[in-house]
Subunit: 242 residues, 2 copies
């Protein structure tokens, strides 16, 4: 396991720079994003993207991995550096939250730079069991409300980037799907990611012709009358095509 | 013209964060990168990637555009945010240069974060005439020597990214070529970018079949016996295909 440093904000490299993580997960029929509670606003409790200062002797990528690890127990996820957000007024556009932050830090803050990361993970039982529920929760992307500062903008732009990533490297789709998945699950994920709808019959025809989507001799648990067949992703077949 | 702030390091947002720019240009038969003199090392004068602190009220993207503008007079170039370099030891791995920098800044520096950008430009007459020759020069990518800190690594990684960008969006190739170019020029550029060689005959056949590479009724100046025909890039045709 990666040896992450203990949390000690006194060790921050520079308190004007942070990492923020957009962690996407797929919850069998909806695309979720991992959010944490924000105690900034007095009297209310909003949600925000998980983030952290970078510690003095810590790599930036590692700071992002640490954020994910502290919330989910996962330590082997690819964290893709996405974009730096640092407009001079990105904090002052949300004056209420800025005052709360300044009160917290005991000094004027002014401007902060956020180095953002994107991660795609499977919300399987391990992840669900290890989730730090005190702080973190999965929220459907379509139901995310107003977040602090420019976090809604960061989420919007990372969705655009995720779509581009998935078009370039369709195998990343399977980073979100369970190891064994049904075609309707795959369709719902594609619909959520690309914000569209697909005809179930056509989608089935297209996907079942993909040599890297391999049918298993198993059906979805639950014992429904028409339980859907399970499939798995075959990377070797995928590499042959792409 | 964009209204860039005047150079005043006292206005830096945070002297532990800078932008550094990898500006690629094509000089009719070689791929160049724009480097500036580094006066850091006492007694010697090396080269480095052009960079700057970010000013207090300046967007990060704008800081990168300002760096390019100050060196070339160009203000409409797309600057692509590439990657943040900020390993804790990225400066201390070059102790000689770090001492020079610390002497310059009058205090210990420790760690700095560099937000890097990639730009692709045409080295045409305007650019050549406006180049701030006091500080800047075009250097063939294949001949870049040892630069300060991790600048060689930044250049290497940005070459990899540029190749990926050009594979995804082949039209970016024409951002580097002159408005009127010959097929051998295009071949040399592809060879330099992808670090390979192409058979001239096959390359010609392939390119002249591309509807977005349009032959002109003009030949290369110089009056050589077998002057090569000039071509132009047709974006409308390109958009039809891609």
């Amino acid at each position: 396991m990666t040896d992450f440093p203990t949390t000690d904000p006194r060790l921050s490299f520079d308190d004007r720079i942070s990492v923020d993580c957009v962690v996407f997960g797929f919850d069998s029929d909806r695309l979720d994003v991992l959010l944490v509670k924000d105690h900034g606003r007095i009297g209310t409790c909003g949600l925000k993207l998980p983030g952290s200062p970078i510690y003095e002797n810590e790599d930036i990528d590692n700071a992002a991995r640490r954020v994910l690890f502290e919330l989910t127990g996962l330590d082997k996820v690819t964290m893709r550096q996405f974009k730096v957000f640092g407009e001079p007024d990105r904090l002052s556009r949300d004056p209420e939250e800025l005052s709360a932050l300044e009160e917290d830090m005991g000094r004027p803050v002014g401007r902060m730079i956020s180095i953002t990361y994107i991660a795609l993970i499977k919300i399987d039982r391990t992840v669900a069991d290890n989730l730090n529920r005190e702080n973190a929760s999965w929220v459907p992307v379509s139901e995310v409300g107003q977040m602090v500062f420019d976090h809604n903008q960061i989420l919007e732009e990372s969705l655009v980037r995720m779509r581009a990533l998935l078009r370039q490297s369709p195998d990343l789709l399977f980073a979100l799907l369970p190891k064994k998945f049904t075609i309707p699950q795959m369709r719902k994920l594609c619909e959520a990611v690309f914000e569209t709808t697909y005809d179930p019959g056509n989608f089935y025809k297209k996907v079942s012709a993909m040599p890297h989507v391999v049918p298993l001799d198993e059906k979805e648990a639950g014992g429904a009358h028409r339980a859907a067949r399970l499939y798995r992703f075959d990377r070797k077949q995928y590499i042959k095509i792409f």
